[in-house]
Symmetry: C2
Subunit: 322 residues, 2 copies
Amino acid sequence: MRQAGRYLPEYRALRANVSFLDLCKNPELAAEVTLQPLRRFGFDAAILFSDLLVPLEPMGLEVSFTEQGPAIANPVRNAADVERLHNFDPAVGTPFVLETINRLRPELDKLGPTPLIGFAGAPFTVATYAIEGKTSKRFVETKRLFYTDPQTSHRLLEKLAETTAAYLIAQVNAGAQAIQIFDSWVGVVSVEDWQRFVLGPTKALVKAVQATGVPVIYFPNGATTILDRVAAVGADVYGIDWRLPLSEARARLEAGGAAGAAVQGNLDPALLLGPKDEVVRQVQAIIEQGQRRGHIFNLGHGIYPDTPIENVEALVGAVKNA
Amino acid sequence: MRQAGRYLPEYRALRANVSFLDLCKNPELAAEVTLQPLRRFGFDAAILFSDLLVPLEPMGLEVSFTEQGPAIANPVRNAADVERLHNFDPAVGTPFVLETINRLRPELDKLGPTPLIGFAGAPFTVATYAIEGKTSKRFVETKRLFYTDPQTSHRLLEKLAETTAAYLIAQVNAGAQAIQIFDSWVGVVSVEDWQRFVLGPTKALVKAVQATGVPVIYFPNGATTILDRVAAVGADVYGIDWRLPLSEARARLEAGGAAGAAVQGNLDPALLLGPKDEVVRQVQAIIEQGQRRGHIFNLGHGIYPDTPIENVEALVGAVKNA
């Protein structure tokens, strides 16, 4: 979960001289910030440094990052806007992502057997940015489009699923050994909207990536309440946020027919702001809830910028000693 | 759910000349905006017009409302801040709320048998405002206080539960015939934090209000995933957001030992932005999921400012004809 970031002094130093989007697009620097946390903490896997919105730019949207977060100058609001979005060849539209992966693999091999996880946003989450034009709180424009023009909404999510599949397959071909799909905002949809709009394109995306042979991790943030339905996307691993113990998350996945799936998670990143002994205690509790099978230890959401380094060290130590 | 509000032209007209906080504090105007939606739509019950933050001012916090939402100039961050908060006599600290209720009861009786629902924020949700000083996205300060100083956190939530109990009992004595407790942000806590910090004070508050003889509705927004635990607060009715069908919400409440409780909800307010026939279809589906027993029809969250009036009319018609 956002291994690289502002909680690291070496990241802050590098970011002082380059904008966020320029950093994503510079393979040398993007590889460097991907490696920074690995060198410091010795994590078991690396996750590519990039952003959910990167593929929207070659699709034809004007993406920028402001103090208030991402902004899209020409958001998608109707059928004509959706038609205007185009598929792109990742080698042409996002060559810097593939080059970052090319650079990373030999460096990661030097650190020992450290697999690289590629990633992208899920169709629904990327659609919310495309439609709202920013990080939303209530997703009013997204839902308005869903309910007033379901055809266009379907078309948008299908198009995003197709484009994202090509983008992720290119990451695998460049050297990513697993893929994580982030559905950061899917917690705002009802069961009916999940079934009607979200499940189909997400499932198609997962399947297309799995056809390359790599495992797919799907992170449905905020959607543990409908995890039995979420299980239908067919991922190999489900990222679980901190709202539900892993043992119960696994039971809901099993109820949804995903008995063989692994779980990933789920320490509340806010716990890393507290005392170290509490971090260790919670790590141990989560490992017990993970039942010591098919469990990738992780945070339940992105790490906070003001997380003390020594708490991350305590976390890694507690996981390795468990 | 926010019956009065900016979606009503008569509310916008009244608000043009008065600030939000002044409106909350003016019994004549607060009663008027409480009645506006009743006159227009003939709802079966009225909900007092007020705000979750109203009791924080007489406790000693400097509350204001800006374009960006509520702001507290002197947020609570440590033990000394918590000690400085004081209980208050609602007749002295919030006389305008009691006078609004006094004015409303005869007016509501004229509209037919229309009960008045009083309300307040739950201890956790009010605590997040007191600690963060604003509407938060990640609740970092709240969780930091929980994990670094659990004693002070307990004391704050207990104090808020005590103050809120007195505030709500005063509402009942003034004429409120039911009470709704809004836990708008409780969806961000883990099961452990729920058990450790939130459940106790919330349960105590519910019990104190029930001792007056009126039913208590508890709305744990975003927490359907742990509804079996939430059931331990002992409310008469649970408000359910739109993320889970009512039939499943009821099953989770029953699993948590609240088999006799009623449910309230749960149309996604965003649906009211779409076509009218879709609103009617969804209302009918929700009434079926409510199993025609112990179900108060409601939205799953507050109504949006740009909701078309005719969609609310269609909703009310569909509920009454169902």
